[in-house]
Symmetry: C2
Subunit: 502 residues, 2 copies
């Protein structure tokens, strides 16, 4: 076979992987959005079958041989051209996947699929005991997974690496260590000031009208409805079955309109990234995404940096008032802006304000590290959660539904994922600063309801690169420096200094 | 390998086939229910991939060898014990599937998947030209499929056999020939009488309330909501992803409340059958269903024999009046009963009354036979449809949306399917007569809103047999005779003699 034929063969394999990943994603989407409870067991088997098949095909010895053959013909695998990067990443992906036995991968999918059902029930009833045996199985399987990647500096490294290629526990800890005291200090200063009034956010907002406003938000952001849809789930998420079908979900609460709104802004941010990935790289190793921090930087940028900004609401607030005249008619835009930026220690991560959010992540990281280091047991999690919440945020959740059971991630076996949210927060501000420096008109455009320059900048600087760069490489390329918490802390400090008159 | 080991291997294969069939069904369900238009192309590729994989695995030479080995150890393959039937049916399935090349099967799925999108658009815009090239491809592929099954008595035989194992064009034609003059004569007699008043069915029925009533209907029928759900589609259907996830769809029209109601009764009838299949036979060749006539007999029984009966509405009508007081408050139960049984030549098959329904089927059969016999071309279908409607029913549809484009089937490549609806009508009455003879209390129970004896009888006599019998075998076993149009004609004549005072 010629080099071109081998390359075509590799890309055929990636095409097949994309078909299988898309099918698996649909099975998962349906499971979370529409599947009746009776379907859970068969669904687990279906997902394991597809995941197993994908894994088996991706890790076949002849694939490794094919990639090695291709790599041998590339003059410099570390070169920064598309072809070298494609082969190098294909090699990384193969080496990574081949470390995990297919039957273990299938078991992992089966176990997490059933755990999702158990978690849903446990959360609804606030009954950790229902979820505990599932999480124990997941933790054991996760440790087994980790063992396949030995040697490593820290057993958490292979887990982060699944969501954030190239990132390590040490790197995350170092970033978090730089961040923690400054976040705590900022919180302390805010706590000394009079609280803002967000009472408007706790009246009853008609659900059908909320739905209309949320559809409008996603549209305003630039979401392509011909290539996606918005549904409702317990835990909002984004998923894709190909470049042209990227779906989001949100959840509506009568007394918490901000919950749906910021979830929708967040998930639409994810979806815009997926809808904006390179078509040229699609069905190659450079397609898709390989940094959840970059993914989360898109969602957190839209949710917070844009979605909680004064300029965004300058345009949008009159519209929101028109949707909800009884709720917002007598609330000034200034009061609204302060209200949606209220800083207060709270139980639920996804409802948390920007000043406390990262503390929720640090709590989870600490518990995950302790689990992986065998320092704590699953059965101790509810109590530990409560005490850590007290320690980090000064509040104690009233029940496990608003404590250890609040997030879907562990039920999906996603230990190692949470840090990417905090990294995403940092990156979001780094993109934002660069964007404003490149296009200083953006705040004015936002105030006029025009968000297309933002999307175009993201498409050009972030989305279209797909998997070509790691997060650190990309942020260096776009901004000239690596992930740096200073920008985030400066952003927070400036914002809250104004709102809380610090 | 021992016989038991070989049998276990065969059943593993069926388990895998069921997983793949369920995954394919979810891809299809989502395509029809929720998929955004942009997803169509990738979805076609995903469905073709899964269908191709299933076909390739089912037709691997070693599977044929395995089945032959098993068959050789069965003393009498025609014996009526489970094991003999299982191996015999496995052999039939293998021989049948192996005749079709996998790449042709994949092409068929890809083409029909895209055709579904085109049909949806064509129907919405009443523009046959959009659908025509797709149907031409489908017809050519269908003829190619037929050629793989040569020799046959008639080229339509292999097509019917896909939906109705063992049935032939000659057998269908003979049944239809016996039926046609008697249906036409009955219609003639009804047409001479004063028409019943169904004006109540054309006022505006609030859609949300319709949804509630339809959910209630399915519940009353005995639909297990833990193992299914009800969604909305252009064309109502039932699909299953395993024994424990069998979903139905319906469609709501403001001015046509009967449309959703009878669609729901119909699809729930299908779903009750699928939910009632034998667990013991599941994941063997005897699992699943192999007669769409039996399938349709369940749906048509619930929709018509039960759903348009006086006894059913004796219980239900006051409830319907309570749901829709403004629409039905002043309509007597007798007027309602006559109204829902109004006989009138109409454009749409699925809205047709029992007296005209089979004529819609005969029209389709005639066109399908002509297409397969190369007597007509796809481009001529709209005009032929119009003239046949005039000939069979005396009416001419105002547009193609209400003519040749009304049914989803051809877009899915389901040429050969339609006759099973008419056969289902005949079987439904044969089950009904036997049920009443076994359980004469049923009409009284229905009038009291108790339908569980009906479901129990169907479970016991029909559902639990899964694929063990062909339609003809099953009806002989249950009623002592084969498919016989007399029962249907007697039922219709008796019913309409009373309603129209014939």
């Amino acid at each position: 076979m010629s080099f071109e034929e081998k390359l075509a063969k590799l890309r055929e394999l990636y095409t097949e992987q994309n078909l299988l990943t898309g099918i698996g994603a649909l099975l998962g989407w349906d499971q979370q959005v529409y599947m009746p409870s009776g379907g859970a067991e068969t669904r687990g088997a279906q997902m394991a079958y597809i995941g197993g098949l994908a894994h088996q095909k991706a890790t076949a010895p002849e694939v490794g041989q094919l990639i090695d053959d291709l790599a041998a013909e590339i003059p410099d695998l570390d070169a920064d051209d598309d072809l070298a990067r494609e082969i190098k990443l294909a090699k990384r992906n193969f080496d990574h996947s081949a470390k995990i036995p297919t039957d273990k991968m299938m078991e992992f999918i089966r176990v997490t699929s059933l755990a999702h059902e158990a978690w849903t029930k446990a959360k609804t009833d606030s009954d950790f005991a229902v979820f505990q045996p599932h999480l124990e199985k997941i933790l054991n399987l996760t440790k087994e997974m980790v063992s396949f990647f030995a040697p490593y500096d820290h057993p958490y490294d292979p887990l982060i690496d699944m969501y954030e290629v190239g990132m390590t526990a040490a790197e995350v800890k170092s970033i978090f260590d730089a961040l923690r005291p400054r976040q705590v200090e900022l919180l302390r200063r805010i706590a000394e000031k009079p609280q803002v009034d967000d009472s408007f956010a706790h009246t009853e907002y008609d659900i059908e009208t909320q739905k209309k406003l949320n559809n409008y938000l996603a549209t305003l952001q630039g979401y392509d409805w011909n290539r996606g849809r918005l549904d409702e789930t317990v835990h909002p998420f984004t998923t894709g079955f190909g470049l042209d079908d990227v779906r989001i979900t949100t959840h509506y609460y009568l007394n918490m309109p901000l919950s749906a709104m910021f979830s929708t802004l967040h998930e639409t941010g994810h979806a815009l990234y997926e809808q904006g990935l390179s078509r040229a790289y699609h069905n190659t190793a450079l397609g898709g995404t390989n940094s959840m921090a970059v993914h989360e930087s898109n969602s957190r940028l839209w949710e917070n940096v844009i979605g909680r900004s004064k300029e965004f609401w300058r345009f949008l607030y009159p519209i929101a008032q028109a949707f909800f005249p009884a709720n917002l008619g007598n609330v000034s835009s200034d009061q609204f802006y302060r209200g949606i930026n209220k800083v207060t220690p709270s139980f639920i991560r996804i409802e948390a304000d920007e000043a406390t959010y990262n503390l929720h992540i640090m709590l989870r990281l600490e518990l995950e590290l302790a689990m992986i280091e065998d320092k704590i047991q699953v059965k101790d999690l509810p109590e530990l959660w409560m005490s850590k919440m007290k320690e980090y945020l000064g509040v104690t959740p009233p029940d496990d539904a608003r404590g250890v059971l609040q997030d879907v991630h562990w039920s999906g076996g996603m230990i190692g994922y949470f840090p990417t949210y905090a990294l995403g927060n940092l990156l979001a501000v780094q993109w934002w600063n660069q964007m404003l420096s490149d296009l200083p008109n953006i705040p004015d455009e936002m105030a006029a309801g025009k968000l297309d320059s933002i999307l175009t900048w993201l498409r050009e600087n972030v989305h279209r690169h797909s998997s070509r760069y790691t997060a650190q490489e990309l942020v260096r390329k776009v901004t000239g420096e690596g992930i740096n918490p200073d920008h985030y802390m400066n952003y927070l400090t400036k914002k809250y200094t104004e709102i809380y008159d610090l």
